[in-house]
C-alpha cells in the first residue's frame, strides 16, 4: 500500500489532464489534416481504433526514448547503451537488467561448457520434447532443477511467460476457482483467463483478506448454480516485480491448508536471488516445500538464461508431460541455454569446486540492503522489503518520468522507469535491480547520480535522515 501526498496527487492529476488536453487537440488537428488525404483501405474497419491507442500515440510517444534502449554488449553491471540514430555507444552503469547473480555475461565456468554443448547439440533441436527434442542435457536439467528447488520432479519449458499460459489451463478448467493476488503478473492473468475457470482477486499480500474471500467463495459455490467448486488454486508470487515486496508465504500457506486450497507459487524473481543458498522465498521464510503444491519459476533472472520450470510431485509432472501443450507442440528449450542453467546451479551450490556461488549470494544481499538503506536515508520513497534486490523509487508525476531517466543517462547511469499501464496511473516509479556483480564503488557512484537527479526532479518526498520524520498530514491512501 502506497500513500501519496495530497499535493502530489493534485499536481499529478493536473499534469495528466494537461497532457490529455494537448493530446486531444493534436488528434483534432490530425482529423482535419486527414480529411484532405485519401485512405486506400476503403471498406475495412481501422485495425487500431482511435481511442484504443490514444495513450500510446499522445503520451507514450513523447517519452519513448526512455524505453527500449538498445545495448550493444552483454547485460552485465556496465553496459554499452547505444545512442539512437547513431552507432555511438556510451558505457553506463546498468541498474535495469535482471542480472541478480551476475551470470548475464561471459562466465568462466559456464560459458566454456555452453559452447561445448553448442558444438555437440547445435543451437536448437527443431522438435517438441515428446518427438525428438529431449536430449540428455534436458533430462539432466530437469533433475538438477528438481533437486535445487526441493521437489521430487520438474518440467522445463522454453519461455517463462508461456509456462504460466500453458500450465494453468491443464490444471484447472471450468468449474474451478482461481484466487490470485491483485498485483499478479500478466502471464498468470493470461493463463487464468485461458483456462475458463472463475477468477477472484484478493488484496495484495493480505492473508486475512484471502481467508475472507476463501470462506465466502466456498460457502457460495459456483456462480448462479451454487454447486460446490471442483478445486481452488491460490496463485501468489515470491517477489512482486513492481513493488519489490516479498510474499507473506507462511500465513498464506496455513490459510490454504485450512481451507483445502492448492497453492501455486510463481518464483520468477525470487529463485536464485533470496534465501541463504538461493533457493527462493520458501527457504527465506522457512516454509516446507512439500506444503506448496506447484512451484513455478523462470531462469531468465538469476541464471542468465531463458525458460521456465514447474516443480511438483512426480505424478503431477508426469501428468503435465502428457498433457501440457508447451511440452507437446512447442520446440524444446535450446540445448546451450539448458547447459547454462545446469552450470549456473552448480556454481551456486558450490559444486564447481569454488565458493563463487556463496560469494555471489552474500554479495547480492549485502548490496541490496546497503543500497536500500542509503536511498531511504537520502529521503527517497523506496518500496520493498529488506533482502529483496528489486527497489522501486516513487516518481508519481508524469513529467518526472522522462526527466529522471534522461538525467541519469546523462551521468552514465542506466535506470528503468515504469508508468501506466504497468503500474496504476498515479504511481509511476523508477525501478532499480541490484546485481551481485555490482561493486561497492559502482553503488556509491549510482547513489551520487540518483541523489543529484532526485534533487533536480524533486522526488525526495521524505525528509532526509538524521532529521526525525514528522507526522504526515492529509495523505490519501491509494491501494
Amino acid at each position: 500500500m502506497i500513500t501519496i501526498p495530497y499535493l502530489t496527487a493534485v499536481s499529478t492529476y493536473f499534469s495528466y489532464g494537461l497532457l490529455f488536453a494537448f493530446g486531444q487537440l493534436r488528434d483534432y488537428s490530425r482529423l482535419i489534416f486527414d480529411w484532405c488525404s485519401t485512405n486506400n483501405l476503403q471498406g475495412y474497419a481501422p485495425i487500431c481504433l482511435a481511442h484504443e491507442d490514444f495513450y500510446i500515440r499522445r503520451l507514450y510517444h513523447r517519452i519513448q526514448d526512455c524505453f527500449n534502449r538498445p545495448i550493444s554488449s552483454a547485460p552485465d553491471s556496465w553496459v554499452d547503451v547505444i545512442e539512437r540514430r547513431t552507432t555511438k555507444s556510451t558505457r553506463c552503469l546498468n541498474l535495469g537488467s535482471y542480472n541478480y547473480l551476475g551470470f548475464g555475461s561471459f562466465d568462466e565456468y559456464c560459458t566454456p561448457r555452453v559452447i561445448e554443448s553448442l558444438k555437440k547439440f547445435s543451437a536448437s533441436t527443431c522438435s517438441s520434447r515428446v518427438d525428438a527434442g529431449t536430449t540428455s542435457v534436458h533430462a539432466e536439467l530437469e533433475e538438477c532443477v528438481a533437486n535445487y528447488v526441493g521437489k521430487p520432479a520438474a518440467i522445463v519449458t522454453g519461455m517463462g511467460f508461456a509456462t504460466n499460459s500453458a500450465i494453468i489451463p491443464v490444471l484447472i478448467g471450468k468449474g474451478g476457482l482461481i484466487i490470485s493476488d491483485s498485483l499478479n503478473h500478466t502471464s498468470i492473468v493470461n493463463g487464468a483467463r485461458g483456462s475458463g475457470a472463475t477468477i477472484r482477486v484478493f488484496q495484495h499480500n493480505t492473508p486475512a483478506h484471502l481467508e475472507r474471500v476463501l470462506k465466502e467463495q466456498i460457502a457460495e459455490g459456483q456462480p448462479r448454480t451454487h454447486r460446490p467448486w471442483k478445486k481452488i488454486i491460490v496463485v501468489v508470487e515470491g517477489i512482486y516485480s513492481m513493488e519489490g515486496e516479498i510474499c507473506q508465504l507462511p500465513e498464506i500457506v496455513s490459510v490454504c491448508k485450512k481451507y483445502k486450497a492448492y497453492v501455486y507459487l510463481d518464483e520468477a524473481h525470487s529463485i536464485g536471488a533470496i534465501g541463504k543458498t538461493g533457493r527462493g522465498v520458501c527457504e527465506l521464510l522457512g516454509v516446507d516445500t512439500a506444503d506448496v503444491d506447484i512451484m513455478m519459476g523462470t531462469f531468465t533472472k538469476s541464471f542468465g538464461s531463458c525458460g521456465g520450470y514447474i516443480a511438483g510431485s512426480k505424478d503431477l509432472i508426469q501428468y503435465l508431460k502428457y498433457h501440457c501443450p508447451a511440452h507437446l507442440y512447442a520446440t524444446s528449450i535450446s540445448t546451450p541455454s539448458a547447459q547454462q542453467i545446469i552450470s549456473a546451479i552448480k556454481v551456486i551450490l558450490g559444486e564447481d569446486g569454488s565458493n563463487r556461488g556463496a560469494q555471489k549470494l552474500a554479495r547480492i544481499r549485502e548490496n541490496s540492503n546497503f543500497f536500500r538503506a542509503e536511498l531511504q536515508k537520502m529521503g527517497f520513497e523506496v518500496l520493498g522489503d529488506n533482502d529483496s534486490p528489486v527497489m522501486p523509487i516513487m516518481l508519481y508525476n508524469p513529467a518526472k518520468i522522462p526527466a529522471f531517466s534522461r538525467e541519469c543517462l546523462r551521468e552514465n547511469v542506466a535506470v528503468v522507469v515504469v508508468g501506466f499501464p504497468a503500474t496504476p496511473l498515479l504511481l509511476a516509479r523508477a525501478r532499480i535491480c541490484i546485481s551481485a556483480s555490482h561493486s561497492r564503488e559502482d553503488l556509491i557512484k549510482a547513489l551520487k547520480v540518483i541523489s543529484k537527479a532526485g534533487d533536480l526532479t524533486g522526488i525526495k518526498y521524505f525528509p532526509a535522515a538524521p532529521k526525525k520524520q514528522e507526522e504526515e498530514k492529509d495523505r490519501i491512501k491509494l491501494d
Binding site: 475495412y44 474497419a45 485495425i47 481504433l49 500510446i56 524505453f67 534502449r69 538498445p70 545495448i71 554488449s73 547485460p75 553496459v79 535495469g96 542480472n99 555475461s105 561471459f106 555452453v114 555437440k120 547439440f121 547445435s122 543451437a123 536448437s124 522438435s127 525428438a132 536430449t135 540428455s136 519461455m159 517463462g160 511467460f161 508461456a162 499460459s165 489451463p169 491443464v170 483467463r193 485461458g194 470462506k215 466456498i218 471442483k230 478445486k231 481452488i232 483445502k260 486450497a261 492448492y262 506447484i294 531468465t300 541464471f303 542468465g304 531463458c306 505424478d315 508431460k321 502428457y322 498433457h323 501443450p325 508447451a326 507437446l328 507442440y329 520446440t331 535450446s334 541455454s337 547454462q340
Partner: protein, 543 residues
C-alpha cells in the same frame, strides 16, 4: 390481479350502461329512456347506440316472456333502486352524482392501494458464521490431477547428439525424421561459428524484457534482415515460437470482432483465438468452398458496422495435416468480402517458393496483400523464437500491446544471430531447397502403396502425413496404436518418426497419423529405409 380489476371496471362500466338502458326502458318509472341514455353518457355514438339498443330491446321484449327473465328483471330493478336511492337528487359540480360513481370511486381506491403495495419477496437470510464454517469443513476438493494411467508413463527417446538427419539414441545411430530441420541447417558450420562468437560477446540470456535494456543490437539486426528477406516494411521478434501466435492475435482481435479460422489450426492459434474473446467461426479444413459459404453467411447476417474488424486465420502448411493453404484463392475471397488475413508461415518459411520466401512466393501473390504474417523460427531456420512481419503500423502497435513481447524476456542473442546466419545461408544456397523438394518427391514415391494408411498431405509440403485409413473409433486407441508403431520403428529399424499426440486442450478433430519431417540432409538410402520400414510395420500392425 390488477389487470383483472381494470377489466372488471371497464366491462362493468359498459355493462351497467347497457343494463341500465334496458332496465330504464322496461321499468318506465322515469322519463323517456332515450333521455336517460343521454344523461348517462354525453357522446354522440352512445346516443346512436342507445337508439339501436332501444330498438333491439323492444324486439327482445316481444320475444322473451319466461319466468327466469321476469325474475332477472325484478332483481336488477331492486339493485338499481337500492344503489340509486340515497343519491337520487345529488348534484355536484353541475354533474348529477349517480350510484355508479360511488362504485367507480371505490374501485379506483382499491386499484391505488394495490399499486402502492410492494410485491412479495421472500426475506433474505444471509448465512451465519457457523453455517459458513460448516460448509467450509464439509467441502472436499477434487485431487489436483486425475490418477495416472499406464499410457501416461510413456517416455520419449533421449538424444545424445545433435538432432540432425542422423542422431544417436541409446548409443545407436538413428535416422531422424522427427525434427523440423527442413534445410538441414542443424550442425551447419556457419551457424555454429556465429553462435559461438555471440555467446562469447553477450553471454547466454538477455536478462530483461525488450523495454528495459533487453534490446540488444543483434535483435535489431535480425529484424532488419527478416524484413529485407521478405520485402516487408517491418518485423518484430518474439522469444518463443508458440507464443508468437497467441500474443499477436489478441492484440488485434478484441471482443466483438469476427474471426474465420480453419478447423485444423494448431494449439497456439487456438489459444490466441480463445484469449481474444472474439466471435470465432470455423470452416472445413483447407476447403475453399466452405470458406466462401462461411464468409457469405457472415456478411449477410451482420450489417457492416464501421468498427467491426474481420479476419481470416490460416496456416501456410498445417502442422496437423501437412496440407498447404491455397493462398491465391484466400486473397481473392479476402478482397471480395473485405477481410484481413493472418497467416502462420512456421512450416513454409524457407521451404516453399523458388527462393524460400514462403507461401506468397509459392503462389505468386505479392506479400503486401497478406496483412499479418507470423512464423516460428524453430523449423527451417534451426533456431528458436518467432517473428511477426507486416506493415509498420501493425508492428509498431505490437511493440506496446503484445503481451508476449512486452512482459517477457527477449530472445537470447545467440539465437538471434543464428537466425541472421541461417537466412544468409538460405539466400546464398538455393540448392538446399531443390534437394529438399527432391527428397519429398522420392519419399512420396516410396510410400505410395503403403497398406492401411494413406498420404494425406500436399505433395509439396515438407510434412509428409500418413493418416490411418480405418480408425478404430476412439482417438485414444488410435493414438496408442500409432505410438506402438513409432516405438517399434525406433527399436527395430532405428528410425525416429512422429506419431500424433493430442492434449485434451487441443480442439482440433483432424484424423491422427504418422508424420515424417523431410530434410535436405537426408540421403536416398534414408528415405528408402523409412519407406520399407513403415510399409512393413503398417502391414503387421494395421491389418
Amino acid at each position: 390481479m390488477f389487470g383483472l380489476l381494470v377489466l372488471f371496471f371497464f366491462s362493468y362500466r359498459f355493462l351497467t350502461f347497457k343494463i341500465l338502458v334496458v332496465v330504464k326502458f322496461e321499468s318506465q318509472s322515469f322519463a323517456s329512456p332515450l333521455l336517460w341514455a343521454n344523461d348517462i353518457s354525453c357522446s354522440k355514438s352512445t346516443r346512436i347506440s342507445s337508439n339501436s339498443l332501444a330498438a333491439l330491446c323492444s324486439i327482445h321484449r316481444a320475444k322473451m316472456d319466461t319466468n327466469l327473465v321476469e325474475m332477472f328483471r325484478a332483481g336488477l330493478n331492486w339493485v338499481t333502486m337500492a344503489l340509486d336511492a340515497p343519491s337520487a337528487r345529488v348534484v355536484l359540480f353541475g354533474v348529477r352524482i349517480q350510484w355508479h360513481i360511488f362504485v367507480e370511486v371505490l374501485l379506483g381506491f382499491v386499484i391505488v392501494i394495490l399499486l402502492s403495495q410492494k410485491s412479495y419477496k421472500p426475506p433474505k437470510r444471509p448465512l451465519t458464521e457457523q453455517e459458513i464454517d460448516e460448509l467450509c469443513d464439509e467441502w472436499v476438493p477434487e485431487p489436483l490431477i486425475p490418477p495416472i494411467t499406464e499410457d501416461m508413463m510413456h517416455e520419449p527417446p533421449v538424444l545424445e547428439s545433435a538432432a540432425g538427419p542422423h542422431t544417436t539414441v541409446n548409443g545407436k545411430d538413428v535416422v531422424n525424421f522427427a525434427s523440423a530441420n527442413y534445410l538441414g541447417l542443424i550442425g551447419h558450420q556457419k551457424l555454429l561459428e556465429s553462435c559461438t562468437s555471440a555467446l562469447e560477446k553477450y553471454g547466454v540470456g538477455s536478462c530483461g524484457p525488450r523495454g528495459f535494456y533487453g534490446t540488444i543490437d543483434v535483435h535489431l539486426d535480425c529484424e532488419t534482415r527478416i524484413s529485407k528477406f521478405l520485402s516487408t516494411p517491418d518485423t518484430i521478434l518474439y522469444s518463443y515460437g508458440l507464443s508468437t501466435m497467441f500474443s499477436t492475435i489478441p492484440c488485434f482481435c478484441k471482443k466483438g470482432d469476427i474471426i474465420v479460422a480453419d478447423e485444423g489450426v494448431h494449439w497456439g492459434i487456438q489459444n490466441g483465438l480463445q484469449l481474444s474473446r472474439s466471435t470465432i467461426v470455423y470452416f472445413k479444413h483447407n476447403d475453399m468452398d466452405s470458406l466462401r459459404s462461411t464468409l457469405e453467411k457472415i456478411m449477410t447476417k451482420n450489417k457492416r458496422s464501421k468498427n467491426l474488424r474481420r479476419y481470416i486465420v490460416a496456416e501456410a502448411v498445417y502442422q496437423n495435416s501437412g496440407q498447404i493453404a491455397p493462398l491465391d484463392e484466400i486473397v481473392k475471397l479476402k478482397e471480395k468480402y473485405k477481410f484481413r488475413v493472418i497467416l502462420d508461415e512456421s512450416n513454409s518459411f524457407g521451404v516453399l517458393g523458388r527462393s524460400g520466401r514462403g507461401l506468397a512466393e509459392h503462389h505468386g501473390v505479392p506479400i503486401e496483400k497478406i496483412d499479418v504474417v507470423t512464423a516460428a523460427m524453430g523449423h527451417a531456420l534451426a533456431t528458436e523464437g518467432g517473428f511477426c512481419t507486416g506493415n509498420a503500423r501493425i508492428i509498431d502497435y505490437q511493440r506496446l500491446s503484445s503481451s508476449g513481447y512486452v512482459f517477457s524476456a527477449s530472445l537470447p542473442p545467440y539465437l538471434a544471430s543464428a537466425a541472421i546466419t541461417a537466412i544468409d545461408v538460405i539466400d546464398q544456397n538455393p540448392e538446399l531447397l531443390v534437394k529438399m523438394k527432391h527428397n519429398i518427391a522420392l519419399l512420396w514415391k516410396g510410400l505410395k502403396d503403403i497398406k492401411g494408411m494413406s498420404l494425406a498431405s500436399d505433395p509439396e509440403s515438407p510434412i509428409v502425413f500418413l493418416k490411418l485409413e480405418k480408425s478404430s473409433g476412439s482417438t485414444k486407441e488410435d493414438l496408442l496404436l500409432l505410438e506402438k508403431m513409432a516405438d517399434r520403428a525406433l527399436k527395430e529399424d532405428s528410425l525416429l518418426v512422429v506419431s500424433s499426440k493430442k492434449s485434451f486442450l487441443d480442439k482440433c478433430r483432424l484424423p491422427v497419423g504418422i508424420k515424417l519431417l523431410v530434410s535436405a540432409g537426408h540421403s536416398e538410402s534414408d528415405l528408402v529405409k523409412v519407406s520399407e520400414s513403415l510399409k512393413r510395420l503398417a502391414s503387421e500392425l494395421l491389418l
